[in-house]
């Protein structure tokens, strides 16, 4: 198969970029995979794409580069295809509309995968006939503006499939958007096995990681940790990440007198070696589209105490088996669950082992396998439906046409492979 991902900017840093790279790299072991980045603002991508995935851009916005296109007058005119209600709308233009359309018209891919709503709309409206059209939702339907939901509702019926990262979000898509004939499937993000040995559960550290923003509710975690310290002053908390809430969290730590026990570590990359220093991971968010850090911590052998917030944590953690789920915004409950694991070495180590085992289902090989199966089914369905439509016409023309299409597809595949 020739699989082509369409992404906003492959050269940045973010969850979508990271998970797309993981998936592309794994699929590339068996298939021809390319990532098409609408924008390019720096020379090399931050995350490792491996040697087999092709990467190219559509619009070069490297300001000091010789091919800078940001000053093109068409880039100053508003986009018409990319939906105005999308949060990235301002970065799109007549120029991006044109380049994306050109790419989707000329592509030789068997499968086109969009990685954000606006790009999924492009694929739905502009892809040439033939390839499977898939739109990925990396956030959630519920968090989109009503105007964007309307735009998706009118464009998405032309997709073959929409994938979400949780079952909960897949249910919202089925219930709210009602897209007849569009396959809606939840496929979780993938997290590779860490390059460091798993934690052994002996260190007296709780670890949390994420951007320091309101939605992560680190204030709740810090308040919970005050109760932990009262009972177990030998345990400490590290919070990795930077963000707008840093000063407020710093002030809270000082106010609660926790400056010997709670540490704001700043951003860390890679994170896996930091998880491995802990024995328990904590997640206090009020909202997690997926819960990437939960899976990362589990893959390092840590049991995770997480809020049972929408959408991801409850689908990742088996409460009481490989971690614990607590109510949102409740420091008492969070402290209680942390102390349960702190005070019971055997349970902590057992749950850490269970987390290590159960998180293997998020291995890129497993997740890529699910995508591969989905692509295969959708390709077969597309070819089948072509056959089905043809029945309404002359039979001979149908068969000839179907075979011709099949042959053309084969030739295209061969052609692509030799590039």
């Amino acid at each position: 198969m020739h699989i082509s991902f369409l992404i906003h900017n492959a050269y940045g840093i973010g969850g979508t970029i990271r998970t797309t790279f993981n998936l592309a790299r794994t699929l590339a072991e068996q298939h021809d995979v390319e990532i098409v980045s609408v924008l390019r603002h720096r020379d090399a991508p931050v995350f490792d794409l491996g040697p087999r995935v092709a990467l190219r851009h559509l619009v070069d916005i490297r300001e000091n580069g010789p091919h800078y296109e940001g000053a093109d007058p068409a880039h100053a005119r508003p986009a018409r295809v990319f939906p105005a209600a999308e949060v990235r709308y301002r970065q799109y233009s007549e120029l991006t509309d044109r380049r994306i359309a050109q790419h989707l018209r000329r592509t030789e891919a068997d499968v086109l995968v969009g990685t954000r709503p606006g790009l999924n709309v492009h694929i739905a409206k502009q892809a040439r006939r033939g390839p499977v059209r898939m739109g990925q939702e990396h956030l959630t339907l519920d968090t989109h503006q009503p105007a964007l939901k309307l735009a998706l509702r009118s464009a998405y019926p032309r997709l073959d499939a929409v994938t979400t990262v949780t079952e909960a979000d897949a249910r919202s898509y089925r219930r709210t958007l009602r897209l007849p004939g569009v396959r809606i499937e939840a496929v979780p993000n993938s997290v590779p096995a860490p390059a460091v040995a798993a934690a052994d559960g002996s260190g007296k550290w709780v670890v949390a990681a994420g951007r320091l923003t309101r939605v992560k509710r680190y204030d709740v975690l810090i308040r919970a940790f005050a109760q932990v310290v009262a009972a177990r002053p030998d345990w400490r908390l590290r919070i990795y990440g930077g963000g707008t809430e840093k000063a407020a969290l710093r002030a809270l730590i000082d106010e609660l007198g926790l400056y010997n026990h709670v540490f704001l570590m700043g951003p860390a990359n890679p994170l896996e070696s930091e998880w491995a220093k802990g024995s328990i991971a904590a997640v206090s968010s009020s909202l997690e589209s997926f819960g990437m850090t939960i899976v990362e911590a589990m893959r390092c052998g840590l049991p995770v105490v997480a809020t049972n917030c929408p959408h991801g944590p409850g689908e990742i953690i088996a409460d009481g088996v490989d971690g614990k789920l607590v109510p949102v915004g409740n420091p008492q409950a969070l402290a209680g669950s942390l102390l349960t694991l702190i005070n019971d070495d055997d349970a902590r180590i057992r749950m850490g082992g269970a987390a290590l085992a159960s998180s293997a289902r998020f291995d890129p090989a497993m997740v890529a396998g699910r995508y591969e199966a989905l692509f295969g089914e959708l390709l077969a369905r597309r070819r089948g439906s072509r056959l089905h439509c043809g029945l309404h016409r002359a039979r001979g023309a149908l068969l000839g046409g179907a075979y011709a299409t099949k042959d053309a597809a084969r030739a295209a595949l061969r052609g692509v492979r030799t590039v």
Binding site: I13, P45, D48, V191, K204, D254
Partner: protein, 325 residues
């Protein structure tokens, strides 16, 4: 591999980088193999970069494992080279032999017994191919055994080495070499002063042991500061603690932000021992270990006083004037 002097390291770097979704403090690093179509890379391809993973042991030793590109020819004289930044003496370069580690990578070991002068050491790889040593990039640093490091108190001289990524994204080590050493632990801050507790290494305190704060502004020399504040030191076994009231340092304030360096004088006439926080995995303590700043009222006005760690991870006290002064 036919000749014994030729090693070919194999195995692509498939290391996954995981990151918090935000701009890191070091510049972006590209994929190790070059992921762009050749036409975009042009004719002048830079030599493939060399990346080293680093594992620390609890004694202070470090093991480096290098990913070298396939078909890289490495000779018997290959070495990982450490160079002290700003140094040019004979002891300011350390060469550690690089050999195959059995997993298609190259390994070098820095044992705890090899002394490195205090400072920042840049890391290079000399593949023995006649080329200049090449700057190493950081891979995965597994420093978990440093996190709660607690050597035996009787250790004569304490060596601490923490690998880190420089702000330009290169691999470097911070090194400390101290004996005796006073390791700062918890610090309790109250409105009137602070209580510092910690642990002594390689020290034998006697009666009259004390803690001293030296006003940096007036220090004529390291041995003879002009203005010092002295408080008694409590010692129990290897554990020490002292309480430093803020009133006296605040009373010496003249202008701006005035740092005081903190020392222990363990016996009368002995060399003072700098108090520092060295025994963990955090290369730069200043941003991570921070403490409340307390308002202190003096004849000169409302001052702000609080402990902090210097860029060398030594403990200090800052007395700052009223905001905006």
């Amino acid at each position: 591999m036919t000749a014994s002097s030729q090693l070919t390291a194999t195995g692509p770097n498939t290391k996954e980088s995981s990151a918090i979704d935000q701009e890191p403090e070091v510049p972006a690093r590209p994929g190790p193999d070059g992921t762009e179509p050749l036409r975009e890379r042009g004719a002048t391809t830079a030599p493939a970069e060399l990346r080293a993973d680093c594992i620390a042991d609890s004694a202070g030793g470090l093991t480096f494992d290098l990913n070298v590109p396939q078909d890289t020819h490495v000779t018997w004289s290959a070495a990982l080279v450490l160079r002290l930044r700003g140094g040019d003496g004979a002891d300011d370069e350390v060469r550690l032999p690089l050999g195959p580690n059995g997993a298609g990578r190259l390994r070098a070991v820095l044992p705890s017994t090899v002394a490195l002068a205090e400072g920042r050491w840049n890391a290079y790889a000399d593949l023995g191919d006649g080329e200049d040593p090449r700057r190493l990039l950081p891979g995965i640093n597994d420093l978990r055994s440093l996190v709660d490091r607690r050597p035996l108190a009787g250790i004569g001289r304490l060596g601490v080495r923490i690998p880190y990524a420089t702000k330009f994204g290169n691999l470097a080590l911070r090194s400390w070499l101290r004996g005796p050493h006073a390791e700062a632990g918890d610090i309790l801050v109250t409105p009137d002063g602070m209580t510092v507790s910690g642990r002594l290494y390689g020290a034998a305190p006697a009666a009259g042991a004390r803690a001293e704060a030296w006003l940096r502004r007036t220090a004529a020399s390291a041995e003879a500061p002009a203005v010092t504040v002295t408080v008694p030191l409590t010692v129990e076994g290897a554990e020490f603690s002292f309480t430093l009231p803020y009133a006296e340092p605040a009373g010496h304030w003249e202008d701006g932000s005035e740092p005081w360096d903190l020392w222990l004088r363990l016996t009368e006439g002995a060399r003072p021992v700098r108090i520092a926080r060295l025994l963990d995995d955090v290369a730069d303590k200043k941003q991570v270990f921070t403490y409340p700043v307390m308002p202190v009222r003096t004849a000169a006005g409302h001052l702000r006083v609080g402990p902090y760690y210097t860029l060398d991870n030594d403990l200090a006290l800052r007395v700052a004037g009223p905001a905006g002064s």
